[in-house]
């Protein structure tokens, strides 16, 4: 009764079991990462505290209207989504100091010294009938305009892309080209539904 032999467990099927589990997880895995355009909504301001928008000069606002037929009206003229990026870039940077494009204010910026920063604001208004796909396409073009300008400036100043800059450098560039996309309070453009 003293010694009992411990039976050895056959581990040969271990691989099979592990394979089974492996295949299960392989099949159920979804590797897609969630991605998208990040935005901050403006906080709700009580009506009596609302700022007077009329103080902002017209030349500083880039108005983008999208109607229910998914057509664009940019600064008073009809436009295709494809053309929007170029137009927006021109507006934001205002390279020739055009009278109709935003004014600039000399601001002290690290790395750059005194730099004329434009007072641009992009105002995006859409109808309730606008398709979401178009809205995102427009948003995407506007963000792309900012990103391209930032990239160009980063390349010029630091010889690197904007994404590769360190935090201080990135912030300096963000100060020069701040992303200002304002969305108007909802209203109907171009007729009721």
């Amino acid at each position: 009764m003293g010694k009992r032999e411990v039976p050895e467990i056959n581990a040969g099927s271990m691989a099979d079991i592990a394979f089974l589990l492996l295949i299960f997880f392989l099949v159920t895995t979804t590797m897609d990462v969630d991605s998208g355009l990040s935005r901050m909504l403006p906080p709700i301001v009580p009506p009596e505290q609302q700022k007077d928008d009329s103080k902002i000069k017209e030349r500083n606002i880039f108005v983008v209207l999208v109607n229910r037929d998914n057509r664009l009206l940019v600064e008073g003229e009809p436009m295709k989504v494809k053309q929007l990026r170029k137009k927006a870039k021109e507006f934001i940077a205002n390279p020739k100091n055009d009278e109709d494009l935003p004014e600039k204010k000399a601001t002290e910026i690290p790395f750059f010294g005194t730099y004329p920063v434009s007072k641009q604001i992009i105002s995006l208004q859409n109808d309730r009938g606008t398709a979401y796909g178009t809205y995102i396409a427009v948003q995407n073009e506007l963000v792309a305009a900012y990103n391209e300008l930032r990239d160009e400036l980063a390349m010029q100043k630091f010889g690197k892309k904007f994404d590769d800059l360190n935090k201080e450098q990135a912030n300096a560039i963000k100060d020069i080209y701040p992303q200002r996309i304002s969305e108007a309070e909802p209203k109907n453009i171009g007729g009721n539904q």
Binding site: A15, T28, G36, L41, A131, Y132
Partner: protein
């Protein structure tokens, strides 16, 4: 010299040891177990996301609440119609449910993490902006201001 080479062959085909096979498989298994994200919600709506190029990855998935919007799938169209609907968690919801949904999401999280919470809008690209604007207004009312328009990566031309 020649005999040295011949010696190896003489044993016939050498048996390959499979003892380390379970280890390798387990390693793979653990990799997939760790990276797996199980689908939490079953979608009742058609959800074809729009495409964009300037997208950013959403970080800290645990702090993201999802709002799905889109026309109901075919099998639900009999009961819910074809107009775009909002889906929160596992059910169709009304606009007014968003407030409670966000508050419930907030309660489930640590207080320190609340400012970093993001609301991801997964909206079908054919949806009209009206419903999206309404959702945005609701989110503003509960000051859930960080949002993300979920979209797929488009191949840059």
């Amino acid at each position: 010299m020649a005999s040295k080479f011949r010696k190896k062959k003489s044993g016939g085909a050498q048996q390959l040891s499979t003892a380390s096979l379970p280890d390798i498989v387990f390693m793979l298994l653990f990799f997939f177990m760790v990276t797996t994200v199980m689908r939490e919600t079953e979608l009742f709506i058609k959800n074809k996301l729009p495409e964009a190029t300037e997208i950013k990855k959403l970080e800290k998935k645990s702090l993201v609440s999802y709002i799905y919007v889109g026309p109901p799938l075919k099998k639900y169209q009999g009961t819910f119609g074809t107009e775009p609907k909002i889906q929160l968690n596992d059910q169709f919801s009304k606009l007014s449910d968003i407030k409670d949904f966000i508050i419930a999401e907030r309660d489930a999280k640590d207080e320190a993490e609340v400012p970093f919470m993001t609301t991801s809008l997964k909206v079908d690209e054919t949806t009209k902006m009206g419903i999206v604007t309404d959702i945005k207004q609701e989110l503003r009312k509960v000051s859930a201001l960080k949002i993300n328009y979920s979209s797929k990566a488009k191949v840059k031309k």
